[in-house]
């Protein structure tokens, strides 16, 4: 079966998930992003690539950072950007997802940036557009349920490549609530496709998916052994709502066992970098001394995220 993100001649038409994308496509996005990063350093931070195109940010779930960086990226490509808070309007009035899409297509949308609490929603939209014969309208998944957050995965890869240059010798630890994390899934797919030497999934048993080993990662329930000698540490946000269930005893207990402190980070390679997709919970998954320390590259991640999203939109809109 053909990858639903690729056209018949292998061009990327939608970005729904990193899973199944060839290494060349990921590398092309990262290479293009480095050209866009230079644009962001100029006085005039715009290029005319998407002039006259309309990008609709359709967020069925709250997000400030992701929506804002997509908006900045689209504006730097000279697109017209329309932000829709659909949870408060059409959906609240009972409109179905695909009816919302049909209405926006009737408004001459060229691209949808979609966030949805349900896994597979962006795929459903892409499939619907294909059935309508609208291959000229593109979909970017900005996070769907627990499934995927491909642009976050790509900006994480951009960050790693920026600091570590290549993937083949790298040991990468992903730490925290992997069970509920679409970022972790996208990172794991990207790292294995790009050939990282070892990917570790580190966290308590209650926060690791049971079949995680099948994704080609090494499972560690102990933070110290998970961090030891690694080159990259990706910390995940512990969502407060998880505290209420039976998954965790308390935030303080979690920090004691899985919080990244300077003492734990000292077990990693001396030049290891620390990443976090944000928003951070200081004192829950990460100590402030680490978050603000010399090994943290959390704010550069945000800057790179704009260039990566420009690259994704620039490539999609041209295909």
């Amino acid at each position: 079966m053909r990858n639903p993100q690729l056209s018949a001649n292998g061009e990327l038409t939608h970005l729904l998930s990193i899973e199944g994308l060839p290494r060349e496509v990921l590398t092309q996005i990262l290479d293009t992003a480095s050209s866009f990063l230079k644009v962001s350093h100029r006085d005039v931070k715009k290029v005319p690539l998407l002039r006259g195109k309309s990008v609709f940010n359709v967020f069925f779930e709250n997000s400030t950072r992701t929506r804002t960086t997509f908006e900045i990226a689209a504006k730097r490509l000279s697109a017209d950007v329309i932000n829709l808070d659909v949870t408060r309007s059409s959906t609240a009035k009972g409109e179905t997802l695909l009816d919302t899409v049909d209405n926006l297509v009737a408004m001459h949308a060229d691209m949808f940036v979609v966030r949805h609490a349900s896994s597979g929603a962006p795929h459903l939209i892409a499939d619907h557009l294909r059935r309508l014969g609208r291959d000229d309208v593109h979909v970017v998944n900005a996070g769907d349920g627990r499934h995927a957050h491909p642009t976050q995965g790509l900006l994480d890869m951009y960050t790693i490549r920026h600091y570590k240059h290549e993937f083949s010798n790298l040991v990468v630890a992903i730490v925290g609530d992997i069970l509920h994390s679409r970022v972790a899934r996208s990172d794991i797919h990207a790292l294995t496709t790009l050939g990282a030497a070892e990917v570790r999934a580190v966290g308590p048993q209650t926060l690791l998916p049971t079949a995680i080993g099948k994704m080609g990662v090494r499972v560690c329930h102990d933070l110290a052994s998970g961090i030891r000698d690694c080159d990259v540490v990706i910390m995940l946000r512990l969502q407060n709502e998880r505290m209420n269930g039976a998954l965790l005893p308390s935030a303080r207990e979690y920090f004691r066992c899985y919080g990244l402190t300077p003492a734990v980070l000292a077990l990693a390679r001396p030049n290891a970098i620390v990443m976090h997709p944000g928003p951070m919970n200081r004192g829950v998954e990460i100590d402030s001394d680490v978050a603000d320390g010399p090994q943290a590259v959390i704010l550069p991640q945000v800057t790179f995220g704009i260039a990566v999203r420009m690259a994704v939109m620039g490539i999609l809109a041209g295909n």
């Binding site: 061009e11 092309q28 290479d31 293009t32 480095s34 050209s35 866009f36 990063l37 230079k38 644009v39 100029r42 006085d43 005039v44 715009k46 290029v47 005319p48 690539l49 620039g314 490539i315 041209g318 295909n319």
Partner: protein, 174 residues
């Protein structure tokens, strides 16, 4: 697209010798603040030659016009976009834009547009190794050592060997 090499009615000149000729055309017009900007990829090779031949003190600018092309809607983004690098202040500068081949003029148009996003130069001149005719825009070269009329079915290509030697070839599109 099928392409095959075909002999031309004229001999192709030595590209390295053309670089020397081009440098001599530029030399009398150089000002102390003149900087060169090469267009990826052939124009960068030529600009590097000129930079050395003219012993210019300023750094070379490199430009990739992919984000400014007018055929993006039809052809999409080039798979190998390289970062533009303009390591000097464009505002008020005299720039010489360098490309290998001047054809439709569209690449030059895109490069000028991009340069203006870095600042307002005092002057932009155009230096090319070859002008093959068939212009589609009102653009002409200020410095050009070789003019040849080539039908649109031919493509004039400059390539760089591992030794660094530049060489012309012609592809014919079937």
């Amino acid at each position: 697209m099928n392409t095959h090499k075909t002999p031309l009615p004229v001999d192709l000149p030595d590209a390295d010798a053309l670089c020397v000729e081009l440098a001599e055309l530029i030399r009398p017009c150089l000002q102390p603040e003149t900087v060169l900007v090469g267009i990826h990829s052939g124009g960068v090779w030529v600009a590097q030659r000129l930079h050395a031949l003219l012993a210019l003190p300023s750094e070379l600018g490199l430009i990739d016009v992919s984000f400014y092309r007018d055929d993006y809607g039809a052809r999409g983004l080039h798979a190998k976009v390289r970062p533009s690098s303009i390591p000097f202040d464009v505002e008020g500068r005299r720039l010489i834009l360098v490309d290998d081949v001047l054809y439709t003029g569209r690449t030059t148009r895109a490069a000028i547009n991009e340069l203006f996003d870095y600042g307002r130069p005092e002057r932009i001149q155009l230096a090319v190794l070859a002008d093959r005719g068939n212009r589609q825009l009102p653009i002409c070269a200020d410095f050009c050592p070789w003019r040849i009329d080539l039908a649109p079915s031919f493509e004039l290509v400059l390539s760089a060997a591992d030794s660094g030697r530049l060489q012309w070839s012609v592809d014919e599109h079937a």
